[in-house]
């Protein structure tokens, strides 16, 4: 025993010393650990990704390989294989988004062949089951102007390229498919009858030429060695009086050469002769394709009937109908249907099994089976999202009933006495108790029910309204990504479309109200759509077509007595329209600005109510860049954001007051410069007074349309040409150590005469960003993180303290700012989307949720990715691996130990007292 004490003593001291050192390590690492990532078991709990391919340009059924697939080439320059049974993407290749990635040809035989580009062209061969590249060669045409009119097809393992020179000849070149070797020189076929209305039905090139009333239908097989021209007068096929000159090929990629004349008759070319099919075209706006079945060719037509809905009908060439392929679906309102491809096989029981891939005018893709069953659908319009709005859901009926009890007006109406109010209270409490008992009982069964469209406890369940380029509006549930409603407006041109939330769902019985302001497709006039975002129905102004072009629009800050914010429209002649009209007298203290992109002029207006109507008065005009520059981006602050504190506390306990101007707008312009190649100018403009608050110039740089602006700071990205890297520049605006106005006084842009102090800093971004946004929370208590979507498909979160101008040293009490380093760190654990890459991201949207620590983020582009971000970690919720069991066990153990010790100690005392 004695030896033990010797043994323990030095070891104990050593142990203490070691622990002391460890203690420092623990403290040190906890300060440095700025990691913001999630745990591996949280994957998929609150994030999802949806992959899209885009509007289908060419498609072909791949019947050769074992797994049945459809190979698709889209307008978004994507080559993908879709599973035949489910429609999911098996493999996908995304080409460049510029014209160098345009897909000119898709050919599927045993291998997939694509021709991409626009002079120079790249011919690639892919394996159809795995999608791996097999061969690739490049082709450059000498004549660049006419290159857009080239036509491509594959014939006998040769790639045929045809370039028509209208009015003179046709150049045909044939290349070996796999190696690109040319069998000979380019063949030049004389064809003076070609014009730009000609169509290609491989390998025949067909035109209508000649003078009016005596036109000829001419066709030539461009691949044959002998030049054989088929020529018939057009009068044989159509009535020349009503002919409007339209000649179009059949849709789908039928192997049979055929075309449609005048949208009425179908002409096939067989044995070097024109053959008019007895079946006529049912609907001029529909789609026609020819299928080659064992019995002979079949004409398949699809169109949208007014009464019967979407219809498909098949006829043989002799005119007899194939009844098993007929379908008419009244519910499926597919606008402008187009048959992308179709394949028919004979099943074992001699029955015709057909699969038809139909693309709609709203970019949706449906796979149909004979008899009319839709196997699957894809909404490819979501590959091109233009604007996004997060909408709060209304409270459940029970909660609304409870809250209405406290509403003064309603209470005064309904309850005249105290006893009535008391009984009402008892009722609501009883209802609450009932729901509690039900929820406890039905906990197992509740999982089958879909999430009702009500607000959840933390406010994380929201509805996302997405406006897509093709004019389709979707309402999507943010927790699951499921589409709740859709609305298609074909005449909506969404370039520059804006969404306004005119009324949230917080004011029952009034519905939530959002308005989308866009343009009319044909006239360019304003088009306004107002709908209820929870249900997707049109309300209020509904679909309103204006008769003037719009300059800009905004909403009024004051709601009217129905809690609706009025919509103010400024049109081309500087007249103001206010919707609803009754809200015009509420207009006051409203200012608007309109920036002209090409001349970099910003014009400011004051919107005033002159007793009868609202008018726009020109107030200020700023010409940025002296006329030679153009505006790249105009970024204002979010209208709903709040600022948490009016100043920053310095280490010596003085306050550096922030310059919080809610009317500040960042304008990024770029232009050529005589001395330096390109110049980027960032200007902070006060949009109410027109004052230029701060500006910064970057030489030999190209502007990127990415900027974030919030509170008193902003950051924007540009490409530095001199050093060939992307940089991010930040500006922070401060009033100084003394305030300019009294605490709590209202900020007025027109009354400020001083310019704030600016702190600037720039950093290098070691990646190519495609989108930028700032996280947003309800009260702005949490830190703000800059979210950057990189072209590599990653979404990276950069804490604002890495971008601060005053880096190094201690900022507010205790927070150690990292020292200045010129390059921003983008580590792997700062990626929000771990290994789910988002192809071609375009924009990031961040919205606040009910929790102060959490912000909801949606990335759009070719793919949609949604996740939740907690910039300061979730400080207001218990962490999800909170070990309840350990704590209860320890607590119970300690209580037990306390009581037992008390008992034993009292016994021992008693025993000692008796000694």
């Amino acid at each position: 025993m004695g030896l033990l004490s010797i043994y323990f003593k030095p070891n104990f001291l050593g142990l203490l010393k070691c622990l002391n050192n460890l203690n420092w390590f623990i403290v040190f690492f906890s300060l440095i650990n700025l990691s913001v990532c999630i745990y591996e078991d949280q994957i998929g709990k609150f994030d999802w990704r949806q992959t899209y391919v885009g509007r289908i340009k060419y498609s072909q059924f791949d019947t050769v390989s074992t797994a049945k697939k459809i190979i698709v080439a889209t307008e978004e320059n994507v080559l993908a294989a879709l599973n035949l049974k489910t429609g999911q993407v098996v493999w996908r290749h995304v080409f460049e988004s510029a014209s160098a990635g345009n897909i000119q040809l898709l050919h599927v035989s045993d291998k997939v062949v694509t021709v991409t580009g626009s002079n120079p062209y790249l011919v690639r061969g892919w394996d159809s089951s795995t999608g791996v590249l097999i061969w690739e060669w490049s082709l450059t045409l000498q004549n660049d102007d006419q290159a857009d009119f080239s036509e491509w097809w594959v014939q006998n393992n040769m790639l045929v390229h045809m370039l028509p020179m209208f009015g003179s000849h046709i150049e045909v070149s044939m290349y070996h498919l796999m190696t690109g070797q040319n069998r000979g020189a380019t063949a030049k076929l004389p064809a003076s009858w070609t014009n730009d209305g000609c169509v290609l039905a491989p390998p025949y090139y067909t035109c209508v030429s000649g003078e009016m009333k005596s036109q000829q239908l001419l066709s030539l097989d461009v691949t044959s060695n002998a030049v054989q021209l088929i020529s018939r007068p057009l009068a044989e096929f159509v009535d020349l009086n009503s002919y409007d000159g339209s000649l179009r090929p059949v849709d789908g990629n039928s192997g049979l050469p055929a075309f449609i004349v005048d949208d009425k008759r179908i002409v096939m070319i067989k044995h070097n002769e024109f053959e008019v099919l007895k079946t006529a075209v049912f609907d001029p706006t529909g789609s026609v394709t020819l299928l080659d079945i064992a019995n002979g060719p079949v004409v398949l037509q699809a169109w949208l009937d007014d009464t019967q809905g979407f219809s498909i009908q098949a006829n043989s060439v002799s005119g007899a109908e194939l009844p098993e392929l007929r379908m008419a679906d009244r519910d499926l309102k597919l606008p402008d249907p187009e048959i992308s491809s179709a394949v028919c096989t004979k099943s074992a029981r001699e029955q015709l099994v057909c699969r038809i891939l139909v693309t709609g005018g709203d970019d949706s893709v449906h796979l149909m089976q004979q008899g009319g069953r839709v196997l699957w659908s894809r909404e490819e319009a979501l590959a091109n999202v233009v604007a996004v709005e997060f909408v709060e859901l209304p409270v459940s009926d029970l909660d609304a009933a409870i809250e209405s009890e406290f509403d003064q007006k309603e209470a005064a109406k309904m309850y005249s006495s105290i006893w009535a109010a008391f009984s009402r209270r008892l009722q609501t409490q009883f209802q609450q108790l009932q729901t509690l008992v039900n929820s406890v009982q039905g906990e197992g069964a509740a999982q089958h029910q879909p999430l009702a469209l009500v607000r959840d406890y933390f406010g994380l369940h929201k509805l996302i309204v997405l406006i897509t380029d093709v004019g389709k509006i979707f309402g999507m549930d943010n927790l699951s990504g499921a589409i709740l409603w859709q609305y298609y407006e074909p005449s909506l041109d969404t370039e520059g479309a804006v969404v306004f939330t005119r009324r949230t769902a917080r004011h029952p019985p009034h519905d939530a109200y959002i308005t989308i302001v866009g343009k009319h497709e044909e006239t360019g006039n304003g088009l306004i759509i107002s709908l209820n975002p929870i249900t997707g129905t049109l309300i209020g102004e509904r679909l309103l077509k204006l008769d003037v072009q719009l300059l800009q629009c905004t909403i009024l800050h004051r709601p009217d007595n129905e809690k609706l914010h009025a919509l103010i429209l400024l049109d081309k002649d500087e007249n103001v329209q206010v919707f609803p009209q009754s809200a015009a007298p509420l207009v006051e203290n409203m200012f608007m600005y309109v920036a002209d992109r090409s001349t970099a002029r910003v014009q400011g207006y004051a919107i005033v109510y002159n007793g009868q109507s609202a008018i726009a008065v020109r107030t200020w005009l700023v010409r940025l860049g002296g006329g030679s520059q153009r505006i790249v981006l105009v970024q204002g602050k979010s209208a709903t954001e709040r600022v948490h504190s009016p100043g920053r506390v310095l280490p010596d306990r003085a306050v550096l007051y922030k310059y919080l101007n809610p009317n500040l707008v960042l304008v990024l312009t770029e232009g050529p410069d005589p001395l330096h190649k390109d110049v980027v100018v960032a200007t902070c403009l006060d949009a109410a007074s027109g004052a230029i608050v701060a500006s910064q110039i970057h030489r030999r740089a190209r502007a990127l349309p990415l900027a974030v602006h919030s509170e008193n700071y902003l950051a924007y990205l540009y490409y530095n040409d001199k050093h060939r890297r992307t940089e991010i520049a930040t500006m922070e605006l401060y009033e100084g150590k003394q305030r300019w106005t009294q605490a709590g006084a209202a900020f007025s842009s027109l009354a400020t005469e001083r310019a704030p102090g600016v702190e600037r800093q720039a950093f290098i971004v070691p990646a190519a960003p495609a989108a930028a946004a700032l996280t947003a929370t309800e009260r702005s208590l949490t830190d703000k993180h800059v979210l950057l979507a990189l072209t590599s498909g990653a979404i990276v979160e950069v804490p604002w303290i890495y971008l601060e101008a005053r880096r190094g040293g201690i900022s507010e009490e205790g927070v150690v700012l990292p020292a200045y380093a010129p390059e921003l760190p983008l580590p792997g654990d700062a990626r929000l989307n771990y290994n789910l890459t988002v192809a071609r991201p375009e924009r990031i949207y961040a919205a606040p949720s009910g929790l102060e620590s959490t912000s909801l983020v949606l990335t759009t582009g070719l793919d949609l990715f949604y996740t939740r971000v907690a910039p300061s970690k979730t400080f207001d919720v218990l962490k999800d691996d909170f070990d309840y069991y350990l704590i209860t066990i320890v607590l119970a153990g300690l209580i037990l130990a306390t009581y037992s010790t008390k008992y034993f100690a009292s016994r021992k005392m008693l025993k000692l007292a008796w000694k």
Partner: protein, 172 residues
């Protein structure tokens, strides 16, 4: 023993009368005793002495807090300016003790009578106030007192805006 042998007839009788008279004159005085000092000691000086002692004691009590000041200064210096358990405990102690002493003034000066009572109470009071001021100074140097405007920053109302804006790039 010898006296008992001479008086054999009276075996058990002892006679003290003759001897005590002669011996009283022969008894020496105890060492250090002088007969002159006995007379000068009067009774009245006992009262004043006790009074003076009391007052002196009370003065000690009254000056007690002031004597604590140097030690408090030293404790403050050693405790340091960081915010952790030891300095906070020290500061807490520095504040609570004088405050408690102030409240207990009545009971400490319970037995006082006399003219200097108010003066003593005043000095005691001042001493405790000085201690409290020292503790407050310590709080100030630790940064606990809300003297700067940065401390009232969180209570300010958010700034409202007068003008509202809208607009952007031209939609044409």
């Amino acid at each position: 023993m010898s006296q008992v042998k001479s008086n054999k007839k009276f075996k058990w009788a002892l006679d003290f009368n003759q001897k005590t008279r002669t011996q009283t004159t022969e008894l020496p005085s105890p060492p250090g005793y002088s007969q002159s000092t006995n007379a000068s000691y009067t009774e009245t000086s006992r009262d004043t002495d006790s009074n003076l002692l009391l007052i002196k004691k009370l003065w000690d009590v009254a000056l007690g807090p002031l004597k604590q000041v140097p030690m408090n200064l030293f404790i403050m210096y050693m405790a340091g300016n960081s915010i952790s358990i030891f300095p906070i405990m020290m500061v807490g102690m520095l504040i609570v003790r004088p405050v408690k002493a102030l409240f207990a003034t009545q009971s400490t000066f319970k037995m006082v009578e006399g003219t200097q009572a108010t003066g003593q109470k005043f000095v005691y009071f001042i001493g405790n106030i000085v201690n409290i001021l020292l503790a407050l100074y310590k709080c100030q140097s630790m940064g606990l007192l809300p003297t700067h405007s940065s401390d009232w920053l969180a209570f300010e109302e958010p700034q409202t805006r007068v003008e509202h804006i809208g607009g952007g790039l031209s939609l044409i």
